[in-house]
Symmetry: C2
Subunit: 464 residues, 2 copies
Amino acid sequence: MITYTFNNAGKMPLYEYLYKCIKDDILSGNLKAGERLPSKRSFAGNLGVSVITIENAYNQLISEGYVYSLPKRGYFVSKISHIANVKSVEPINYEKKLPEKENFVNLSGSQTNPKNFPFSVWTRLIRNTISEKSRELMITSPSAGVYPLRVAIAKHLQSFRGMMVNPEQIVVGAGTEYLYGVLIQLLGRDKVYCVENPGYSKVYRIYKANCVDCRLVDMDSRGIIVGNLRKAGGDIAHISPTHHFPTGITMPVSRRYELLAWTNEKDGRYIIEDDYDSEFRLDGKPIPAMKSIDAGDRVIYINTFSKSLTSTIRMSYMVLPIHLSQRYEEKLSFYSCTVSNFEQYTMASFIDSGYFEKHINRMRLFYSRRRSEVMEMIEKSPLSGKCTIMEANSGLHFLLRLNTKREDREIKNALEKKGMTISALSDYYMDGTSGDEHTFVVSYSDLNPDIFKNALKIIAETIC
Amino acid sequence: MITYTFNNAGKMPLYEYLYKCIKDDILSGNLKAGERLPSKRSFAGNLGVSVITIENAYNQLISEGYVYSLPKRGYFVSKISHIANVKSVEPINYEKKLPEKENFVNLSGSQTNPKNFPFSVWTRLIRNTISEKSRELMITSPSAGVYPLRVAIAKHLQSFRGMMVNPEQIVVGAGTEYLYGVLIQLLGRDKVYCVENPGYSKVYRIYKANCVDCRLVDMDSRGIIVGNLRKAGGDIAHISPTHHFPTGITMPVSRRYELLAWTNEKDGRYIIEDDYDSEFRLDGKPIPAMKSIDAGDRVIYINTFSKSLTSTIRMSYMVLPIHLSQRYEEKLSFYSCTVSNFEQYTMASFIDSGYFEKHINRMRLFYSRRRSEVMEMIEKSPLSGKCTIMEANSGLHFLLRLNTKREDREIKNALEKKGMTISALSDYYMDGTSGDEHTFVVSYSDLNPDIFKNALKIIAETIC
């Protein structure tokens, strides 16, 4: 009879130690397939442990498949066809850190400065949510998001964007990138998706990563060119009419109507209106959304809290045309909502209690002042007279055209060596058609004034 | 010269009121395309307002495209090709509520009872996270999740599942459903994905919604049949070897090695090991994960906090083979992480400070007691002797075979009319091949004992 001592068992329960010994013997081949194991009673007597200990060990071996039992005949070693040599694992260094680029001046960053996030309000609202809504927090959210949040968003869109939408048309998701993936499933993989060129390259990459037919359509000074959209055979136009990234173009109303007319020419055509930073139009009142003049119900409106609050709470939403929200309900509502209930309810109360509006107003003032500072700093810097500022009346970035003959790539590399990251407008031409425009995209949402001052000096030195 | 009175301006700023009046006249056709607007100075004099007011109104009209300006010539009405009649919007009733099924007895629910969620610990940890990590909370998370959380998960997997994995192999996402979509992009749309039949139908639906080739592979009492997987031409086998849903089968180690051998026969074959409720093996010690014996590095391990904490915090993770984690980094790390930093850091500290382990132990005890209660209740109910309980030693559900000749569908419909929702095992055969097995799936994670007692009575009345 096989036998084991329990000297090395340490603090392990006896049954577990015995299970391990037998398993090791099976894996090493000491116990062969088909071999009969001792009966529980005799094994227990032999090892000087209780029958229960043997039984527990055998049961564990059975449930993992190392051993099988035959009624009235006993316990046998299973046939294990292929014993892999588990590779020797390298010692794992959990303390390894990802490299940080602390010393870099990032002129293309879009993070929220911790000073600008309403931490104390947010903490209070989470605490209230948890203490008042423990029941709701545990109830599975509808696929499109919890109803109170969708109501809060609908009301916000009404007062802020002049949009009359039903909460039922709203789908909440963990970021616009996630929602793009949902839209591909909703609209169909057989459609031709068109994006603006130049444009926000991530949108293009997402369509490509999902292997749908995605085509680039050129822009003029009024936005995407409808004739080219037609030539490209587009079904879906994915655009940012309020404030195009990175050019800053606002699409005039005539082009908007031209686009809406294009959607009505043929069934299955839609506009995806990405309204990512409409809250931060710094002059005048906000530009109305295309969705608000969308008589044919062909516009899918998408927005996010990334710019208006922080990109690190992953929450975005889309407003679907009524017929598409019904299709979503039928075809895709089996998906779980991707945003935590805790944050959905907290956000609902953040909007409902007026904090969101206050926060936007505060931030608009902050960014407006920051922009003036930045402009003044450029004026007083060695760059003054050697550059032109464009499209600075909206959003959290502007275009800086430099008087230089050096190539964009050359300038970027030279700045990179001096510890500075900046994007060129030409980077956003996804087909690489652009020549050097000597124009750079400067994001100022999280820009330290002292660092920026120094950055301007370095840029001035670099361009000549 | 056009003229307006400001009598109806109310509290609106004058420039905005003026903007609105002019816009309405353009849209109604009172002002024609190409028509020249008054100069700022004369218009201001005429209306008795400041030049600034006119200028602001004109600028707004220009930025929205209703008006254009020609240098030294003045302001003109734009040509707007298509004036849509914006549909009359039905009054929106924000107070409308989604229907609730309050009176229903749901025997297939899997929600966490609010009493079982560690609210006070969670609240404290969120508060600490916010007060100690305000900087980190605003820094964009790496695509695969913040590093401290991935370290915490790697350590947890080591102590809990005997898995030695690098934090770099871990990808955190907003739910396993989201991660399945990522895997399709990572492994390729040209692959044949195989799922277990019967099985968790959502997995099948997700592959179908993504339009990839997904095939059903039959199971025997030891899990998915490798011969059938081969016949189906599968590249990827998506399985739950630790605890299959809904049958409760644990795949024995011989079948596991057979499957691993299958992956090594041909490049590009992988196993997706869905380990969704491995924490709740109620007897014996946990079954080792396939990933822990995966010498060829062909197993993608997926788990979630849905069962172990709550499904309403949307957080899951996968452990990729090393070569796939490199491919993820190259091809897909442009995606933003879908989980909020706030919850990522809170979860990291929940795991690191030992609360997660405590919670699992507490819940395992709770569910174990609940199971005994449930078994005892069945024993004492009118169903006693008219049913068999199967696969009750793991997870949060068991199978209940009823001694009845009535069809599964008939029973389900009859129970539905009496206010009870229950799933039949036959519902999980996705090709509809199953006959009536008279077997039902009972989830008991959130089952009120009194209600369950009553439910048993109703079932007993229904089956005869």
